[in-house]
């Protein structure tokens, strides 16, 4: 039996053991959903490079390790460690999850009222959660073994509901902390009513050197003219694994702006799928990835334009060093009825070492004729002439590299209009890049 097949059996066994502990055994539909997911996992297993969508990301090393799905009461890192991981904070409301489970002691949820409801998913499910049912349903079409694994074990996460016209005034910070040997399966829901608006930051962290698997899944539903600004910050331990999925459904005139920053994880992958269910919706996916050593970082984006007049943009940049490997696979399909689509795609990577590698696959499939589409991908090195030019002006080599790398990533950072987050990111980014410089990697 293959590693991914064995992994499926391991998680089936784990499910049998943990089933009594999982919330939502009461609503039969949830139990049914989990079993459907397990069925999928048992037959399909975890993905292998034979799956087209996983061609460049081999997860056999994840499958080969038997992580224990986080059970309630699983060991929680000590408070001091947790607090150090939560730095730098953003200062506003915050929900903290450890091993995928809500930790009230370190959380400060936003004030209720004004049509804003923010709860841990476990609490929402304990109340029956019937209204959440359509948002938790098995994704139409495909879903990978990781989607199935998350569905089988999801127990908690953030459940954010905005009534029509509601505004979440301050950015809401969700922090997910991973722990040793554990599989965490956070499930987040953002359900935004018509003309509501919010900013949500999803951050994933773990203790340095920690080995664990975060398998997270976020569903976003934007009703007409709803607006969501979304950040996704992966700064997992460099030995951890991170599999993340983001599925967005956008009604007419809604706007989704997201920035995904991937710094951590030995193998990390973020999959984003956008479906427009109404005309004139807009989605902007920005991304920045930095990887070194033997890190593998993958962004897999899929946007379907089925209706007229929607706008989508993918703007991803990355810096790879050491023997790191990056993957960008951006697929945009403009279906025959999607006239007046505006779809742009750009992916640029900077390789700082000879052994770093990038697979960039921008794919634009256009079946409509009256559309504006553009795509491009470049992979390059630091410009030697520019480096010499700066040094010839007295700027030291390390600082010159710094300036050029900063110049490269600058336009992604410019797209982060949230000053505290942007500053925190700059610090993290440089701590990350400088560590690499110091290690001479």
């Amino acid at each position: 039996m293959t590693a991914t097949g064995n992994a499926a059996i391991h998680y089936l066994e784990q499910f049998r053991e943990q089933r009594p502990e999982l919330p939502g055994r009461e609503p039969a539909w949830l139990d049914g959903l989990r079993r459907e997911a397990l069925e999928h996992l048992a037959t399909a297993g975890l993905p292998t490079p034979r799956d087209e969508a996983w061609k460049y990301t081999n997860v056999s090393s994840i499958a080969a390790q038997a992580f224990t799905p986080a059970a309630p009461g699983a060991a929680v890192p000590d408070r001091a460690l947790l607090e150090s991981l939560l730095e730098p904070g953003l200062g506003g409301p915050r929900l903290v999850f450890v091993n995928g489970r809500y930790l009230p002691e370190l959380s400060s949820p936003p004030a209720l009222g004004g049509g804003v409801r923010v709860r841990p998913l476990a609490a929402a499910l304990a109340e029956g959660g019937e209204s959440l049912r359509p948002h938790l349903a098995w994704p139409p079409g495909d879903g990978s073994g990781f989607t199935a694994l998350n569905t089988a074990f999801m127990a908690d996460g953030a459940c954010i509901e905005l009534a029509p016209g509601a505004r979440l005034e301050e950015p809401l910070h969700l922090v997910f902390v991973g722990g040793e040997d554990v599989l965490a399966s956070p499930r987040n829901l953002i359900i935004a009513g018509a003309e509501s608006s919010a900013t949500v930051v999803e951050e994933y962290v773990g203790p340095e050197g920690g080995r664990y698997l975060t398998n997270t899944h976020t569903r976003i539903s934007l009703e007409e003219k709803a607006q969501l600004v979304h950040y996704r910050l992966n700064r997992e331990s460099l030995r951890a694994f991170h599999m993340g999925e983001l599925r967005i459904r956008q009604a007419a005139g809604s706007r989704f702006v997201s920035t995904a920053v991937a710094l951590g994880g030995l193998i990390s992958r973020t999959e984003v799928r956008v479906d427009f269910s109404g005309e004139g919706a807009e989605t902007r996916l920005n991304g920045l990835y930095v990887a070194s050593g033997r890190q593998h970082t993958d962004h897999h984006l899929h946007i379907d334009h089925r209706l007229p007049g929607c706008t989508s943009e993918q703007f991803f940049k990355g810096v790879l060093d050491g023997a790191a490997r990056g993957v960008f696979s951006g697929r945009v399909v403009v279906h025959p009825d999607a006239q007046h689509t505006d779809a742009r795609q750009s992916n640029k990577s900077l390789l700082l070492s000879r052994n770093a590698e990038m697979d960039a696959r921008p794919q634009l499939e256009i079946y409509a004729d009256d559309v504006k589409c553009a795509h491009g991908a470049t992979v390059g090195q630091l410009d030697g002439d520019a480096l010499f030019y700066l040094r010839a002006r007295g700027v030291g080599e390390a600082e010159a590299r710094h300036l050029l790398i900063h110049a490269f990533v600058g336009d992604v950072l410019d797209r982060i209009p949230l000053p505290p987050l942007r500053q925190a990111l700059e610090r993290l980014l440089w701590a990350r890049l400088d560590r690499r410089e110091a290690a001479g990697a």
């Binding site: 520019a386 030019y389 700066l390 040094r391 300036l403 336009d411």
Partner: protein, 257 residues
């Protein structure tokens, strides 16, 4: 202050400089002329420390130190400035950031205090007047989208801010219109000082009407085949480089002898 002895250098194993000797004393202006491909830019780049060239022999001493042992940034901080024949465009790095990083690196090297934001800006703006460069150029990316002439002026601006002891101008006059040539030359002349020297690489006598050299050298096939006073430049203007070939043959014979 700069002494070059029998300097040889090659690129990709192809010898380009084949024995250069040159002595530059404080306050002097040396002009280097010579046909395309003779090695003028190579010499300028070797002095600035470009690593694509392999120095295969000879020595260069700069204020008593072995210049060739220094990294490019150390040379710059020790007072050597190369105005590039082809200034490089650096998207995403603003002119003002480059100037700040460069000036601070130098001041730090000299053990002096960095300028605060106010003094720095005052200095830069004053020097921009010298080359008549509009202020918005400060906030544009280094050389990105600059016209040929604007790039050259930007080189002189950087030189004016960094105040080197030796300015090497590699065809800074090429691509300049008549007014810009005058502006650039005036800028250079304003920087002339008893302890500051210039090596001016040019194809045109006209620049030397403005920046009057103490010595003129003709470089051909990687050697200085003739040196003289400023009248040599006039000679070249009149007679071209044809007669230099004769001299070269002579030099070649000398070398063989």
């Amino acid at each position: 202050m700069l002494t070059i002895k029998n300097l040889t250098a090659s690129i990709n194993d192809k010898p380009i400089l084949r024995g250069i000797d040159l002595e530059v004393r404080p306050g002097e202006v040396h002009a280097i002329m010579g046909p395309n491909g003779s090695g003028k830019s190579t010499l300028a780049n070797v002095l600035a420390g470009r690593e694509d060239y392999a120095v295969t022999g000879g020595e260069v001493s700069w204020q008593g130190r072995d210049l060739l042992a220094l990294a490019p940034e150390e040379r710059a901080r020790e007072g050597i400035f190369l105005a590039f024949q082809y200034p490089v465009e650096i998207p995403g790095v603003s002119n003002v950031n480059l100037l700040k990083a460069a000036l601070n690196a130098k001041l730090k090297h000299l053990g002096r205090e960095e300028l605060d934001a106010y003094d720095f800006l005052a200095l830069v703006k004053e020097r921009m007047k010298l080359v008549q460069m509009p202020e918005d150029f400060l906030y544009r990316a280094v050389n990105e989208g600059f016209s040929g002439g604007e790039k050259k002026r930007n080189e002189v601006l950087q030189m004016a801010v960094l105040e080197p002891l030796l300015g090497i101008l590699d065809e800074t006059d090429s691509g300049l219109d008549i007014d810009a040539l005058k502006i650039v030359a005036d800028g250079v002349n304003a920087l002339r000082a008893p302890d500051r020297s210039f090596v001016v690489v040019t194809h045109y006598q006209r620049l030397l009407d403005y920046i009057v050299p103490d010595h003129v050298h003709v470089l051909a096939h990687g050697r200085i085949v003739k040196s003289g006073g400023k009248e040599l430049a006039l000679d070249l203007e009149r007679r071209g480089y044809g007669w230099i070939a004769e001299l070269e043959r002579g030099a070649g014979d000398d070398a063989r002898a």
